[in-house]
């Protein structure tokens, strides 16, 4: 079965320090991977995606993610955290490739990022 795991319920970092939010996946074939952020009582906002090519993907708001095929991981990173980055972060995988499958993503449980001043 295709799945996504986010092993940390919460990550705490100090403002200005680097942050990492972990994600591992289990899929057959080449994965299409996504990161979304959710602020309280809001919908999900797209941050970045990995489809193919360079293992380091850059996205919105200074975030980047590193795809590691051998470790089946897609960790979200940011060199210098801001208090405003505090939110709920979701990793997701598109499970089946095909032109009819644009709508389905499998999400992890989410990781709450808390950035303290």
């Amino acid at each position: 079965a295709q799945s996504v795991a986010q092993p940390e319920d919460q990550v705490n970092v100090a403002e200005g320090n680097p942050l990492t939010v972990k994600c591992t996946y289990s899929v057959s074939g080449n994965p299409y991977l996504f990161w979304y952020v959710q602020y309280p009582n809001r919908g999900l906002q797209f941050l970045l995606k990995y489809i193919t090519g360079d293992n380091l993907v850059k996205g919105s708001y200074g975030f980047e993610a590193e795809f590691n095929k051998s470790q089946t991981s897609f960790h979200l990173k940011k060199p210098s955290a801001l208090v405003s980055d505090s939110a709920l972060y979701f990793c997701a995988v598109r499970p089946i490739h095909g032109s009819s499958n644009t709508g389905k993503l499998i999400f992890g449980q989410g990781t709450t990022l808390q950035v303290k001043p």
């Binding site: 919908g43 089946i96 032109s99 644009t102």
Partner: protein, 115 residues
């Protein structure tokens, strides 16, 4: 450029009732998907609509049904509500020609509380 819009934002129902949630996709998008997000959980895929037909369905009972209109907007209907249906319901839109490499754009959700 309007993003994905959902209505209502909040609603309260009692067990056994029926509810209809509405979604207008982002301008230019033709595919709508619905997700259920229970408190403290990640979103769970309910189904996807394209060309007014249900194209894919997640592991949800037949009490969950939907519709897509010619203008690409969509409705999610839930019959015989259970307490466990209390959740944030998210609508997401995409453009079919982007294929499976395209990202989804989400609305802010409809918060359903079942008493």
């Amino acid at each position: 450029d309007a993003g994905v819009t959902q209505s209502p934002t909040h609603l309260i129902k009692t067990r056994g009732q029926q509810v209809t949630l509405r979604c207008s996709p982002k301008s230019g998008h033709d595919t709508v998907s619905w997700y259920q997000q229970a408190l403290g959980q990640g979103p769970q895929f309910i189904f996807q609509y394209y060309e007014e037909e249900e194209r894919q369905r997640g592991n949800f009972p037949d009490r969950f049904s939907g519709h897509q209109f010619p203008n690409y907007s969509s409705e999610l209907n839930v019959n015989a509500l259970l307490l466990g249906d209390s959740a944030l319901y998210l609508c997401a839109s995409s453009f079919a020609r982007s294929g499976d490499t395209g990202e989804l754009f989400f609305g802010e959700g409809s918060r359903l509380t079942v008493l």
